[in-house]
Symmetry: C2
Subunit: 519 residues, 2 copies
């Protein structure tokens, strides 16, 4: 089936050279074409009401909607839909393109702004920005709890940290041998999944190794903790540089300027490493803030119900994590930072970058994640999302007419037919993940378009990237240079001295070939 990107790059391939100098112009074309494939913000609807209201247009604790709430009609049982996702025992499909750094990065990133309320699925605690809240907290009181006071430290602008085995990590969230929160961290959100007593069937929690950090989901796995630890070290390293280069600055200015640099630098990696891993584009997309400066789609960010749901990429996780020194079954790879602390940060990233992720899609969600997978299907119903086909139209694609238009896999086709009878009845979430992957991308087509629209229209609109803010006055010239020269997670590890060659820390497997256009 000819998808948006297939068509698009088919045409574009003719005009784009392969030497790289046209990357900036090509990026601009791709970003604008992608974002304009659907309606831009402000959205007329939100989860506040089924019609447009001032409350719906202004109360950002509700989620916006790309399409209005739909009448759902008869739907198959959740247990039956679950079968579309279940990975058969011992039959995981591994990705030919992605390493486990890809899901690690994706989870840490999206947990920062896709923050649906666990109880009321209409609400969100999102700040609607890429603000590194997993590192800094969502609120000022959380940030304060995470900061080292200059008068205690003799150094300025730092986040609290501790030395473990000669490496720097966040402090611990809980008191030793206890499930009680360290009082200095009372303002933080309690890590999700650590309620006491624990829910029946929940994975075991190693309270003693959970870190005191901004994000209530960033202790989820050693992968997300690894991402957060990398960024904590980079914040403190940058603060040290700023302190040394600007002797007149106080604690507050060093902290705030380090944070400015960190957020911009992180967005740069999001686009230049992560989005470039996703896209099948025959050239590298560049993080060029000016693309958004005059764009008519540059409107206040507001996370949608659709975006909150489509980013549940459970099937990317393999059955077993090949850790540096051991194998960890997926079921045990959660709420326990001991594996990270024991091997250290560089070894953890090397493990993530060495191991293939699993393929996103039908029949490939590990047993450990089936409960949350079914929860996502259920949430699509709670939020009364329109059908898969309606969303195709909303994003400029043709309506599919038969199940084979969705998947070329006869087993997926048969399961969809059994569940829904008619293609027009296929639900949003199951439809997204039932699709074939796009050639040269780790994502299926509609999902890739939707991710792209939101990635660009909400990352490039960050206030730190705006026309009169993205400059040396905001970051210092040293900071601006640092942002511009940072392109990957490996760049950060290398300059922290954790490894001599950061280029091995890849989301794209070394053997992967893009084809004629990337020799």
């Amino acid at each position: 089936m000819a998808g948006f990107f297939d068509n698009f790059f088919g045409t574009l391939g003719v005009v784009i050279d392969s030497w790289g100098w046209a990357d900036k112009a090509a990026s601009r074309i791709v970003v604008n074409k992608l974002v304009r494939s659907t309606r831009s913000r402000p959205h007329p609807w939100s989860t506040a009401s089924d019609y447009t209201s001032w409350k719906g247009l202004t109360d950002r604790t509700f989620l916006a909607r790309q399409l209005p709430a739909a009448d759902l009609g008869d739907l198959p049982d959740l247990a039956a839909v679950a079968q579309l996702f279940e990975r058969p025992e011992g039959m995981q499909r591994l990705s030919k393109k992605s390493t486990c750094l890809f899901p690690a990065f994706a989870q840490y990133l999206t947990d920062g702004f896709l923050r649906t309320d666990p109880v009321d699925k209409r609400r969100t605690s999102s700040n609607h920005e890429i603000d590194l809240c997993a590192l800094y907290g969502r609120t000022e009181s959380q940030t304060d709890a995470l900061r080292l006071k200059a008068e205690d430290a003799g150094s300025k602008g730092r986040l609290k940290s501790q030395d473990l085995n000669g490496e720097e990590y966040p402090l611990y969230h809980f008191l030793p041998d206890s499930t009680d929160v360290d009082p200095q961290f009372a303002a933080l959100d309690r890590p999700l999944g650590t309620s006491v007593p624990q829910h029946e069937g929940s994975p075991a929690v190693d309270f003693g190794s959970l870190f005191a950090i901004g994000g209530d989901r960033a202790n989820s796995t050693p992968f997300t903790s690894m991402m957060n630890t990398l960024l904590l070290r980079e914040h403190n390293r940058i603060a040290g540089e700023l302190e040394q280069r600007n002797p007149g600055w106080d604690d507050e200015r060093v902290f705030q300027t380090a944070r400015n640099i960190m957020i911009a630098l992180y967005i740069k990696i999001v686009i230049e490493q992560y989005i470039n891993h996703i896209t099948p584009a025959p050239f590298s997309l560049e993080a060029d803030p000016s693309v958004a400066w005059d764009a008519e789609w540059n409107r206040p960010n507001w996370m949608t119900v659709e975006f909150s749901l489509l980013y549940r990429w459970h099937s990317l996780m393999p059955d077993v994590i090949e850790w540096s020194d051991r194998q960890i079954p997926l079921m045990s790879f959660s709420l326990d930072n001991r594996p990270l602390i024991e091997v250290g940060l560089a070894a953890a990233f090397e493990a993530a970058a060495r191991q293939p992720a699993a393929d996103l899609g039908a029949f490939n969600t590990g047993a450990a994640l089936m409960r949350v997978e079914v929860g996502a299907v259920h949430q699509g119903r709670t939020n009364r999302l329109a059908s898969y086909n309606d969303y195709r139209v909303e994003y400029g694609l043709d309506r599919v007419e038969q199940f084979s238009d969705i998947s070329s896999d006869p087993a997926v086709e048969a399961k969809l037919r059994e569940l829904y009878g008619s293609v027009d009845k296929v639900e949003f979430y199951p439809g997204l993940f039932a699709e074939d992957l796009v050639d040269k991308s780790p994502l299926p087509n509609l999902l890739m378009i939707m991710v792209g629209v939101d990635a660009f229209s909400q990352a490039l609109t960050n206030p730190l990237l705006s026309k009169h803010v993205f400059n040396a006055q905001t970051f210092t010239q040293w900071g601006l240079d640092l942002i511009m020269e940072t392109r990957s997670v490996g760049d950060i590890l290398q300059r922290q001295g954790a490894m001599t060659d950061g280029s091995t820390i890849v989301m794209t497997q070394p053997g992967w070939r893009y084809g004629w256009y990337r020799p």
Copy 2:
């Protein structure tokens, strides 16, 4: 001195016809040229810190800054600066263009979004939108307190009101013969100036006649109460129409849709009656939402310290208000709604529209308002605003070189020289108001430009006016037609049946002539 508008309209006069068909195109040109005369949002600075920080870019309880905080140097005593504003006894200068409906409208409008914290002048309680919060409250709990519950009323979507002398008014804020707030209104902000015991020297308060409304400043004078009463009646009238036309709607939908219509309709009057009164343009500006749809200046609203300060138009108020049935000295024209209730809404509007306002400018602030005038000068220092000349440059004007460039009045020139010595030392606020009025406008030049920039760049960006929201689905077709046919305060009074000819309710005096272009 050739100002922005002088030059601009000098050129534009050549291409604009006087028959009106080009109003829409001309409006688009004026709006864009005006808004582009200075830096657009997001602003790099706010009152949160003197440098760019994530807190400053996101915490909207601080005020944004057009120019960064300045070093103030030596400044004249406040008491001396006060002399620049003081209206000599019996020497008020009355406006040849404006009636008192102009300051009445301006005060009610701006108190809705220019809401500097009375104690901490860096902070604001503004929602940063034209949201009619004086009518509906700033928060959901305030809105709830002001709404009539359908189950009590037998009618849907209404605001609470009472009948006084056969006319509809809001309920009273305080319990009878008491300074205690009626418990049903505990969520509302207490009207400013009604603290008990009262501050020494404060004007007397008639607690018994103050209304329970959204705005803590909307009981300030019978003029602001008159504006709010008009809009309360219109809300309830529109709710009644919606209820009748949409029998299936519940209380909530009737209320929210009436509110949608009210906010859009109010913005239409802001531009088509109020801004057109201010502008010296040789044609009528139109409230055309589409001007902002693709504009690169359409960025999230954020009130600035400069905007909060420049809108203190104290000198517009004459010494004595010629009320319908009596004369009220300015000193007594506050926190007392009895004059309004006694004569009724139509007579109050007629009084406002019949009486000339005073001229804005130096030596013309009434004694009753000198305390707040001096407070404004002081606030300019607290907020460390850059100089008058620096702001001229920021808005595309030439730096003035001598005092006579600011004012052609020798007394003003002499007072400025005595206070500041050098033109470069003239402060922002005193400089703004010391300028000559622009020919055919009630405002001086820099002030007019700054008001215009903020008026258009923050009114047309309202979410209700946005591309995918400004339509019949949001307002109903009946509501959209009502918005489009409303051009003035008088239109509302007339359709409420308060008078047979609303065209007498004018901001511009009937004898006023625009000149060759408006025959």
